[in-house]
């Protein structure tokens, strides 16, 4: 399955996350997941939203550099070794590297969902599919 992710460039300074969330405030876009990758100077704020188009437009309007990517997403059974068995092992066996990933809870389904960017998304998708069937 695929999911849209909106990422924003932010300097690593006090108040920047606030500015991002303030830019989204009036849009009433719901954040389903957020993850930050940072170094000493800057960070990349990655977000899953219920309305990514609206969210991205609001961020652009506020002067942020943003981009929208289509990422792989997979459900993980809420059991011991779920992540290992359903995602990491099959991708590793298929020699696919994970660039980054993060997870969030699917309230209704009661399962975890991960969002991931890999060195070969097409191959990764096939590997994950093969694993669930």
């Amino acid at each position: 399955m695929k999911i849209k992710q909106v990422s924003v460039f932010a300097e690593n300074e006090q108040g920047r996350l606030l500015a991002i969330l303030k830019a989204l405030e009036i849009t009433c876009v719901n954040l389903r997941a957020i993850s930050v990758s940072e170094n000493a100077d800057f960070g990349i704020v990655r977000m899953i939203m219920d309305n990514p188009e609206k969210g991205a437009a609001a961020l652009k309007q506020a002067g942020f550099t943003e981009r929208t990517d289509t990422l792989l997403t997979a459900e993980i059974p809420d059991v011991p070794n779920g992540l290992l068995k359903s995602v990491v092992q099959p991708l590793s066996d298929g020699k696919v590297n994970i660039d980054y990933f993060y997870a969030f809870l699917e309230q209704e389904a009661g399962t975890a969902r991960i969002v991931l960017k890999t060195s070969d998304d097409e191959k990764a998708e096939m590997l994950l599919k093969a694993c669930t069937t």
């Binding site: 992710q5 990422s7 460039f9 932010a10 300097e11 920047r16 990758s37 170094n39 100077d41 800057f42 990349i44 990655r46 002067g63 942020f64 550099t65 943003e66 981009r67 990517d69 660039d99 980054y100 960017k117």
Partner: protein
Amino acid sequence: MIRHPHFETMPRAELEKLQLERLKKTVAYVYERVPFYRDSMQKLGVKPDDIQTLTDVANLPFTSKLDFRDNYPFGLTCVPQDEVVCVHASSGTTGKPVIAPYTQKDVDTWAELVARSLVCAGMTREDTLQNAYGYGMFTGGLGLHYGGKQLGATVVPASTGNTKRQLMMIQDLGTTAISCTPSYALILHETAQELDIDLYNGSLRLGILGAEPWSENMRADIENKLGITALSIYGLTEIMGPGVSMECPHKNGMHIWEDHFLAEIIDPVTGKTLPYGEQGELVITTLTKEAQPVLRFRTKDITRLITETCACGRTMARMVRITGRSDDMIRVRGVSVFPSQIESVLLTVEGIEPQYMIVVDRQNAFASDELEIWVEVSESIFSDKMAQMATLQIKLQRELDSVLGIKARIKLVEPRKLARTEGKAKRVVDRSELPQL
């Protein structure tokens, strides 16, 4: 074609003799007539008689733009007002403008030197010169006008603006040469395209372009789009106006009319004279002016001089394309760099638009150990992968090191940081002046 072969192809030894003779006269002339020059020479303990060789010019005081301001309007003028036939002025975007008074002989010399420049560019009396420099107190408009007339070409005093009308005149009058700023040449092309006018195959064959800095890339762009030869003309209000130097079709530097101007290259930091061939700040002393001669004017323009005889046969020294302003020069561990050089390196790294700012510490007054360069993260270089962003940072640092030999710390910033320094892009900023957010 060469308009004044006697002077323009004079052996350099003979030229230097002529320069010395004229320099001596000029120094004695201003010493006698202008208290400012007398005072500043006395401060350095130099008298007109101390000028015995051409290298003695290095003992004379510099004149800066500030000195013109301090002596505004006629404090540097050598003749009574009834001998002044016209007055021009710099644009003076900051404070009082620089006033340039001319005697009739000054205007005649100016016209003759612009005519010489136009011939140097390849113009003849058969040409129709559309002069799209601004008429008024700016020296560009009337300077080119006088020169074009002096040559006997047909001058169209179009002045600036009204691009559609300019294009109509080019077509209807069969204009062969245009004088304007390089950026206006591109505007002409854009508007011509909108109006479906084919400039490339039209009558226009030559551009006499100046009054703003431009690059070789821009020259190629203009030549390819307009189907012309684009040549650089140089001048300053303080010195005379356009026609101080001019490129010939060999495009190998602008010939300085050294029978009227003495050129020096100095280290902009120490003020020491550098040998011709080394890069530094251009300093000009006028040799034949009457109303307002100038001793050792610091142009702030960074160039170097070539004294080998040009393929066109002229012996007059050529100044290479100006690489920057000495005000903008930065020193990093003894290496001089200009924002324009940094910009061209940034441009070579794929996807980088030149939105950047160089941060210096004034405490270390242009002699920092390390530069910090803020590069704006635009959509074209923004990646959702941290590794890719880090690679970009390293690539820029490595490129600056290998091309310019400077250690720079690249800081990737949000667009808002640089948006605060609008208008004329301010590329060098002191740490204390950084935008407060």
